[in-house]
Symmetry: C2
Subunit: 334 residues, 2 copies
């Protein structure tokens, strides 16, 4: 059964905003982000409040660039990794727009764009703000260990990005031009029985492969139909597993055509092991780096796949494996 | 700005399924549910696995009643209260359909129906399965205290329902007939600075009032346009606060026209204080009791409002107030 939604009007991504933490701001993509924070606490009493404020600022940057006010946002769709979407709930409270909370772990930004596309294309909303955030310090202490422990991590472990991104999807202003949402493919929950929280890339790669194969089959396309396939966030290890899995299924993706946001966010010298992760990683790299590439004509057709590990401390403590999911959206520039 | 989405084709709710725990099965609505569990652990190793299995069974009951297989589900939308949607993720893994994870606390079922309505009405999906679950034992130990403590609760505290519900939204088979989704109103995050986790009704009532007023204004309607206004889950205390808030704003709702799922799920003698709560409460009461009323012609026009308290143990420990949200859907039978 086909899993791809086609947006007949090709909604436009009229604006974008992103913000990253100090470490992300020292990585290879540093000059592609709107704001680099000097202090990842933003002077607030807790990292959770800082994450919420980061998400709010990314949204406000996006709205300012679009020239609209908070009161003109017809829907906000977003999420984060925190229990009960703490950061997004607080950010949405400040924005004040109609809010749909989503959870797809690190695939949340793609899920938000996918639903936003349908709400705008279907004529239900004139615009919809998609957003997501993550914060190293909130994720680390929620999912792993107190930061003060300075716990060692294996090379396959990923580093949760301190970052947030937002994109405003709107009814197209003209028939052609700008960055357009062409279609979206909804992911299924895939579980290859990986139970190691330090090996998320291995857990998520099969979900990305499943969505990628579903998308190619639904749309009758191959990697040749895209200038770039962007995943977020498999990390360095998961990215290689995805290439292997696709090759096994007879789909060859060239090394240079596959960019993983997590594998690209940090430099090797930054000691972030297998790379970045977290809802904010693909959210910021997509709304910073990739959308700039689309605007500048460096690429014209991008397939962006978010990948989420649906794990919790409870499921980990119960020894369960990590169910994963990946949603895809096709972004094209005319 | 208007927050209501209109579904031109009025998608049909072609099927429904629900399942409740032993205590819910001794309440006043007992004979309205499809399945009453004798053992809320379902013979599984953990309550979390039991909740996931409950959600899966509610979905399967719904699909069996619709006469379709899992492979024919074009989208599944759902969520629960557990960190990182543990129950829904595991249920979705077993169903195997394209899955969109949602989080709106106890408003999740309404959020799922609202988005499912747009996906089906917009022609993006032929059908969409909306579902949600909660479990007293998983919620209690995650949000409050170990069950073994037998902690006392104040009278305003609510009792998380052990329940799950699912509804299949599909393209209408005929122009008239059946239960139809007419429109949905997206909620905003509202925060009246209530920080008491034992007083959720007070935190959520203002969010319900906000969505109710938005709906009436958008649709140019009054309570007289509905046979029943269903909220879930304000509980006994929150329900009274909502009536007060609406009266202050000049909207009089008759006592008998307002049914709160939480306030109706348990009998007074069941010692559940202010009543039920949890994503599964409105999900089961809606797909059990209310949809049966619509089928039987006891009511023809129902406005259902889910209400969610976007709180987490982290936000509670940081002394933060409880941001709340309420989404609404109008269900009509011809």
């Amino acid at each position: 059964m086909k899993r791809t939604l086609w947006y007949a009007s090709r909604p436009e991504i009229v604006s974008r905003g992103c913000i990253v933490g100090p470490r992300e701001g020292k990585g290879p993509l540093a000059d592609r982000f709107d704001v680099i924070l000097e202090d990842d606490l933003l002077g607030l009493p807790s990292w959770e409040l800082a994450e919420a404020e980061m998400e709010r600022r990314a949204c406000m940057l996006c709205l300012e660039r679009a020239g609209i006010t908070q009161a003109q946002v017809e829907a906000q769709l977003g999420g984060d990794l925190l229990n009960q979407l703490m950061a997004s709930g607080l950010a949405a409270r400040e924005i004040g727009a109609p809010f749909l909370g989503l959870y797809g772990a690190c695939s949340t930004m793609a899920e938000a764009l996918l639903i936003a596309g349908a709400l705008v294309d279907g004529g239900y909303r004139k615009n919809a703000l998609a957003c997501a955030s993550s914060h190293f310090c909130t994720a680390e202490r929620q999912f792993r260990f107190p930061l003060e422990l300075g716990t060692q991590r294996p090379p396959s472990a990923q580093w949760t990005a301190t970052a947030a991104g937002a994109a405003l999807v709107a009814a197209p202003r003209t028939e052609r031009g700008g960055i357009r949402l062409e279609c979206g493919t909804i992911g299924r929950v895939i579980d290859y029985e990986i139970a190691d929280a330090n090996h998320m890339g291995a857990a998520m790669a099969p979900a990305v492969a499943d969505t990628l194969l579903g998308h190619f089959s639904d749309a009758d396309r191959t990697p040749a139909d895209y200038d770039l396939i962007v995943t977020g966030d498999l990390g360095i290890v998961g990215r290689e597993i995805l290439l292997e899995l696709m090759k096994e299924r007879g789909v060859r993706i060239e090394q240079e055509k596959l960019m993983d946001c997590g594998a690209s966010l940090f430099g090797r010298e930054q000691d972030c092991h297998a790379g970045g992760s977290g809802c904010g990683c693909i959210a910021s790299v997509l709304t910073g780096h990739i959308m700039r590439m689309l605007e500048d004509g460096q690429v014209r057709r991008v397939l962006a796949l978010g990948s989420g590990a649906m794990t919790s401390t409870t499921s980990a403590q119960q020894g369960l494996s990590i169910p994963s999911i990946s949603h895809a959206v096709a972004l094209v520039s005319d």
